[in-house]
Symmetry: D3
Subunit: 206 residues, 6 copies
């Protein structure tokens, strides 16, 4: 559909190879058949990570959803009152209670890197209540997990607890937005049976 035409040789050299087994329940498309903007985004991510994270290969199954998914993701991490480390802590705590293999492992690596803590991801996957985190982050994860598991029970008092813990109004919104997005993301990844790249299992563990 899209064609990366200029300088095909260079392009051939650097072309990411989307893993066939990035997910088990839908076919992964060929990189060269993807629209230009997807190719570009995937190439960038591959450059940055040193490998193509499988969520990009999987979401490429449907380009319109690829665009929407990563645009939302980008908004959450680029326009935020939270630290990136906080975002990844929420993602892993939420994915842990939802039991999402892809997100536990891929965002587990990100938690290890952004929080510079080789054990935190395994703690959050198991039980954020006994993770080595400060009180503000405990409150943050209390709310994120409650919104995930028992959203009817979220009340004004939960927002007040976040306020008391020092979160701004925008940061409180962002806690909810990240939580909500990974309730989407976990379900997509689990439905498609997305598989984390081998690299994610070990990144940031040393």
């Amino acid at each position: 559909m899209s064609e990366p035409e200029s300088d095909p040789d260079a392009s051939l050299e650097s072309q990411p190879d989307l893993a066939d087994d990035a997910m088990h329940r839908f076919p992964v498309p060929e990189f060269e058949n993807l629209p230009d903007d997807l190719q570009e985004r995937i190439a960038d991510e591959t450059d940055r990570a040193g490998f193509t994270p499988n969520v990009f290969s999987a979401m490429a199954y449907k380009p319109s959803h690829f665009r929407a998914f990563f645009a939302y993701h980008d908004a959450l991490v680029e326009d935020t009152a939270l630290e990136r480390e906080e975002i990844e802590m929420i993602v892993v705590a939420v994915s842990g209670v939802n039991h999402c293999y892809y997100c536990n492992v891929a965002h587990g690596a990100l938690v290890r890197i952004y929080a510079d803590d080789p054990q935190l991801a395994d703690q959050l996957v198991a039980n954020y209540r006994t993770a080595d985190i400060n009180d503000a982050h405990r409150t943050m994860l209390d709310v994120a997990v409650k919104l995930t598991e028992r959203p009817t029970e979220v009340e004004e008092s939960d927002l007040a607890a976040l306020r008391d813990a020092g979160f701004s109004e925008e940061a409180i919104w962002d806690v909810a937005a990240v939580t909500a997005f990974y309730n989407l993301s976990n379900r997509l990844a689990m439905f498609a049976d997305m598989r984390p790249n081998d690299e994610f299992h070990t990144l940031g563990r040393e």
Copy 2:
């Protein structure tokens, strides 16, 4: 930030008024303070519906999220192998089990309109298993509700059941994508305590 400058009088006349009580837990911004693209989208929606659906007023709290949220929504309804009526059925069944007041009522109206059935929304909010729907839609909602409530238990057999019911591979992906998105949407709406416009309670009931 953005300024709708040309023909201010006309603009003043037609300017939507964002309801202060579109949500209870975050402030609703003033329409005239919104970036151009949000103003434009809200004006369009207001024209189409005859009123400004409160989700637009609420999401305007954070423009970057407004854009991401509605871009995802638009991708789901515009590039899809599902009928719009099927999308709205999924939304209401998912929102019913998640107990989301805003989505039950606003998408309940859409189900009534798109399915041309004044009772279907109330059926789906209560229990899709006893709704007046065909067998293929029953299978579709079985999977959507399972992915919502017990995502770890979704297996290849669930996709096979959708295939047997006549859904294409892309339609199966779309069932999951709509389900996943409304697991995001329900949680955002419940966290912010979004309130459906009065109009949604009665639209499509006659």
Copy 3:
């Protein structure tokens, strides 16, 4: 069995017609075959409502249960320390968590009428915690929903909370009695797959 013999013409004119589809899983009897006391009660209800609520048609399947069910219902609404509006609020909050289609819709109409509030039923079906109700009613519904979902956890402190909210001892008993009865009623209606009359979907919405 019973025969309304005097003035057959008049009787023919006014005889309610029990809807064949008042429930899906048991046959609905013919009005003229019902015992006199059931005919009388149904005729009265039909006069009052302008239509025969399907619960009367459905319960007529077994006259001894019809009598017991409505006698209990009548005791709950006629000899009570609660306002009728409060009773219907409990019914809809309980039916919402139990996901009873018939009761959500039929008692939803009653909540709208008795509370004179066109949105309250939809709020209570979704989540009583974000309904527009006063603090005493919030406490009342906290207890009703707890007794419905987690009855082992009801303790003296729940009764104390009702007392503090201004409920008399008899009113506290009545909160429990209404809650308990609709845990019966929801289950009967769901088992028989009772269907609310079309009228209930719109009553009290204007």
Copy 4:
């Protein structure tokens, strides 16, 4: 309020003494202050059992509810397509999953007596799936417990299973009716903290 006037001496001799601790959360009235019909029913029950079952003392707190409750109970056991033993099996299986102390113990005694089996009640309180019952009763309790715990999931196939197990249409209705009534009864007893008489713990155990 009501006065049992004729032959006061005889009446004084035989008057049941309602146990003060029949329930912990509401006061138990004095027998002599009860309306005639309640006195008569309680006297009859006391004669039959050799003691006054505490549910009569407790329900006497509100005579209109006493009448409705026992009228419903009587309809269920007197006009039924089920054996009394089957009714009590349903009651104990339902009360076991609802964790109702009063009903476990009082109806446990009735199961032992009607089924002439000193262990069956303890089996049903714990787990009907491993109780010593025949296949038809297993199906009966599968449906009763499903209707208790997950009523949204009851479907036509559950009624078909009962039909295949030999239950008539009326018997199927009765299974649901008994189950529904004890979902009421369990909640009333748990809310009021009704206490079974000492006698019930041992009746039928020898």
Copy 5:
């Protein structure tokens, strides 16, 4: 394998007879085929109780597990900061929420005997929250049941509550150890479908 050789006649007389139906899902071995140490322990228990508790017959299926199971059990009751009555209260409350027939009945008897209370077991099987126990034991069972049902939610505050109720650090550990062991024991008994001896149903009830 092991042979009790001296005075075979006497030995034949006193040899316990392991009930064939001590459990339903695995074969019960013959007493005379058991290793000496198991024979000795079973003979001792039979002497003490007057009958062979079925858990000994059942666990004898695999002698290495028999030894480990009873050694752990013995450590819990012999080296403890808890009263034996407290241990049995924990066992029955835990078994009640886990719905273990064998443990409800066998340890129900032990609760009646050690607490010298003929009703306490039936109370604990149903709902420890309404059992006739003191405040310290209420706290003890709150923690035991939480550790059983929602172990992720156990926090330092639960240990603090036990401390405030007068439990020593060792006693707090013991509360957890007993709870944990019966989460093992309940699952083994339920998996093998162990059946309590008739005697346990009535022991301590008079």
Copy 6:
């Protein structure tokens, strides 16, 4: 209490150092204050692993429980019809649903080593249903997780499924025994807040 007296210098050199933070909620004893048999076991384990696994340091809090716990563990891994790899798969799947941080990580390392698979542990912690395992192991984990989460629902058909998958009667017992023991172990570790050694996070990942 016990004193390792001969050759104190040698002993001083090789003495394991029990980590103070092996658990957060009880004090970890000093190695030199432990009874001889505990010292010996801990020294052996330390030699084997190259570090002292924290469960040994933690369980040493109460020597009688240390002995019982590891004797049971040893029986499960030494006298078994299962492969060690199968045992560790059960442990991690069970610990994953119970959300036990210690067991996820420590036995996660053992799964990686015994199954010679660097990703299997992360898969099992998240969701055994999408782990890369054969059909027999899928059945094995279906039963282990059911016995963990919903033990009342385990039935003869579950044992039959294991038989059909090729498990012997003894192996079926062992599946249940391992599952049951880690329902104990998870709860002890979670109650005491045991912390896995740093080494376990990375062992077997390369």
